[in-house]
Amino acid sequence: MENFSLTKHELIQLTEDTFIVSFNEWIEFEPTQFIMIETETSIVRKPFGLGRWNKRLAIGVQIIGPGTGYIVQQNVLNAHGPCGRGFVPPGGKGAMIATPACLPMAMDLKERHGCDVFIGSAEELSIEIPFPLVVGDEPFLNLLRSLRGYNWFLIVGSDQMEKVSYDVLKDKAEVFVSFNEYMACGIGACKGCAKETRTGLKHLCIDGPVLRGEEVWS
């Protein structure tokens, strides 16, 4: 766990509101770990999942408010991390189901663990990606229904996308979900990121962000 500054190497626009930001620096991290980034728009730092793009450290950013807009515009970002538990896939064949903002995380998981990756997007992407892409809600649901022969799935995206995906996939394999909760510290101090689970209260910034879906949703 460290404080550091990251300088922007490249900004790649994927859709109208989603970008990949790659950096000149590298930090060691495990899949699905995240960093807490300072913005001028909020009094607390904001969590962003770490990944890689074109062999560089990278994050994906979907602009949903002032903080995400700020991060895309800045050339230097102050942050601390890596935070959270790295995701260690169980054995067998696995797939990550993700939104475009999670492309760097997906690339990292693919490189380390050789799993399949499927990207579901509301719009076409402006770049070619090395993963199957489905555009729109119905094609995404059809994709999920068609997936067979996997031992595990990892779902990373918005709350709504994660729940919909979990409901379709839960009877097919073990399903892991990267949960979203508001965070302030990212290091287990503030107790802000509490999530009720079957086995008791978990704090996503230290026990997660990835938990088994069934721990949270029956």
Partner: protein
């Protein structure tokens, strides 16, 4: 109590020492632990936080392991590294007056390990407000003072009575210091969601400044100022109106390095 530098990590903000991973301990005068209650507390249901540019609202609800488990951890050397690196302040509370006394009694054998005990009388996220009953509060201040032989600090807020009256009462009951102020009850509307909790950050600063100013006029207590201290200039203003030390809270969530910057004022 001598704090070098006179900078305290605020209770609840710094958890149980986690920020030592990100801040040089030499820049911390004392580290206040998360408030410990008599019984374990699960805390409030999520969402527990919402932040804007000027404030943070939290409804953590004093989630903590309870004093019995805390003592087990203390004896199990969980906090030994923390004690080696910094002075530590123990923060405690109860769901009624008796529970405050029970926590204090259980902690008597360990009091020497701590620089001070801070009694949290002002959490806005629990049902019980000790500050709203001055007669009972006085009884409790006296009883706690009788039981504890440690530097005793009352953490008081602005809800329940004039802060200078409560501080004077604490001084008259033999207490050594006050932390002024705690978060204040507030509410944020985020689309369809309503988040009620305690507000912290820059919006608290003028209120905390006034509290410190009034209490300094009435008492000679050790005053730890808490509320919206984000930078060196804020810190200076609190010392100007009578603070003995300043507490860094929400500012840690923006940039933990701010503690090191403010500490430079004293070297």
């Amino acid at each position: 109590m001598e704090l070098r530098p006179p900078i305290v990590i605020a209770s609840g903000i710094g958890g149980m020492g986690e920020y030592l991973k990100l801040i040089d301990p030499k820049c911390i005068g004392a580290y206040t632990l998360k408030t410990i209650t008599f019984k374990p507390r699960h805390g409030n249901p999520p969402p527990r936080l919402i932040a804007t540019q000027n404030y943070l609202i939290n409804s953590i609800g004093l989630e903590n392991v309870g004093v019995k488990k805390f003592i087990e951890e203390l004896r199990g050397q969980v906090y030994d590294e923390l004690f080696r690196k910094v002075k530590v302040i123990f923060s405690f509370a109860g769901e009624n007056f008796e529970e405050y006394l029970l926590v204090a009694e259980k902690m008597v054998p360990y009091q020497d390990r701590f620089a001070a005990f801070e009694c949290n009388f002002s959490c806005p996220n629990v049902q019980f407000n000790p500050l709203s009953n001055p007669t009972e509060l006085k009884r409790m201040l006296l009883e706690l003072r009788k039981r504890l032989n440690v530097f005793l600090i009352a953490k008081i807020g602005i809800e329940g009575g004039f802060v200078e009256d409560v501080a004077k009462l604490a001084e008259d009951c033999g207490w050594n210091g006050v932390t002024l102020i705690n978060t204040i009850r507030a509410l944020h509307v985020d689309g369809e969601r309503i988040i009620a909790g305690g507000v912290s950050g820059p919006v608290l600063k003028p209120i905390a400044l006034r509290a410190v100013y009034e209490v300094r006029k009435r008492t000679s207590l050790f005053i730890i100022a808490s509320g919206g201290i984000m930078n060196e200039e804020d810190a200076q203003q609190f010392f100007k109106v009578g603070a003995s030390a300043i507490s860094i809270g929400t500012a840690l969530y923006k940039n933990p390095k701010i503690v090191e910057k403010i500490a430079k004022m004293f070297y």
